[in-house]
Symmetry: C2
Subunit: 228 residues, 2 copies
């Protein structure tokens, strides 16, 4: 085996370690990630790669060199946000009032879901190759079912509440994400409130008031239809 003239102890891991990168390259990598976050949030994770590159002010080649596949870029772009999400799960589990913890957690997740189209896809679909997420996901699921169990034991959830109702709720909220955030956000809050009142084991005869209704009407339902 020929000796290594390179002074680098190890090759760069794919888009992983900005440690060994040249200064300008590292800067560009960050710009790409920032651009990806913006573009994905606005247009979803299927946005053209060239759009991300343009926004970042780099060529496509630069983007592909650092992130060989779309999944790699998506994974890297949402790493932070998923970490925040994981923290939220921890905090929820730590909450002494399980019902409150659950509600707060879901409200947080739903806010992000409805605000960031990219996150919506990543979180709901589990992006391929985002294998690292699998562990997070498993942990999250663990924490969540604990939380549900505790809340039910504490008499805060009705008997026939099922763990599957959580993904059900998340899917429902993600349906609101088709609307612009100004509408989707109040809509999500209102939906959450409605659902949580139904989830309660012993609803008060006079239910708590709702957050304001979103500006929605039947003819205002807008979903971006590809108008080619």
């Amino acid at each position: 085996m020929p000796d290594q003239p390179s002074h680098k102890p190890s090759g760069p891991a794919a888009g992983d370690t900005p440690a060994e990168l040249r200064a300008d390259a590292r800067r560009n990598r960050e710009r790409v990630l920032d651009a990806a976050r913006e573009v994905f949030a606005a247009q979803g994770v299927d946005a053209p790669m060239s759009a991300v590159a343009r926004r970042a002010g780099v060529g496509v080649a630069t983007l592909y060199r650092r992130f060989p596949t779309r999944s790699a870029l998506v994974t890297a772009a949402f790493e932070d946000q998923l970490a925040v999400c994981a923290t939220a799960f921890e905090e929820a589990q730590a909450d002494p009032n399980p019902g409150h913890g659950l509600y707060t957690l879901l409200e947080r997740i739903c806010t992000t879901l409805v605000t960031d189209r990219g996150f919506e896809t990543v979180f709901m679909a589990g992006f391929p190759e985002a294998l690292a997420y699998d562990r997070q996901r498993a942990v999250a699921e663990e924490r969540l079912s604990h939380l549900v169990q505790r809340a039910r034991d504490a008499g805060q959830l009705r008997e026939d509440f099922a763990p599957a109702d959580i993904p059900l709720l998340l899917l429902a909220v993600s349906g609101l994400a088709a609307q612009p955030p100004e509408t989707a956000l109040p809509a999500a809050r209102r939906l959450l409130t409605y659902l949580f009142q139904s989830f309660q084991a012993h609803p008060p005869s006079r239910p708590a008031p709702l957050p304001p209704a979103p500006p929605l009407d039947l003819s205002g339902l807008q979903r971006p239809v590809s108008a080619r």
Copy 2:
């Protein structure tokens, strides 16, 4: 102006009147519509036109000649289904029990929403050029707000229920449509039940039982991600 040698009193309206068509052409038109319904239901209204043509066993040219734009095809393909929908609105309005009428109506719509991806888009977005729908939509909206009013007057809906909660519910259900129908259908029923229990003005201290939970878990959230 030159005289008209044609024996036809009027030109064929675009994709509208199969009356003046040659027999084989009319047959092909129907085959195209059937194919469109199937393909749109399975893949959504953005499915390639060529897929519809192939399924119908005709060339693309035939398809384009009969339906010059995608919208025209979509409009024609969902005409019947929207008529059914309009009927459902009428029936709901005619129901002596407004709460029951409202629930039945929404359950019907939601079932279709969750079963047919094409209908979901058409109904939620109002397809461009589907101007004829606008009238239906206006009528529907009229009926709906009547129904809500009556239900609230009858003490079947809580005070702070807003008409905007109907589109909210529809959007939420359409979020479930990302799942395969086997999952989405029970999910929709359960979600509807939850929400209706929340909508009630005076919920019983012991809420009615729920329909069975859908087979959903966090890691099972599937959304077709373009795996290019």
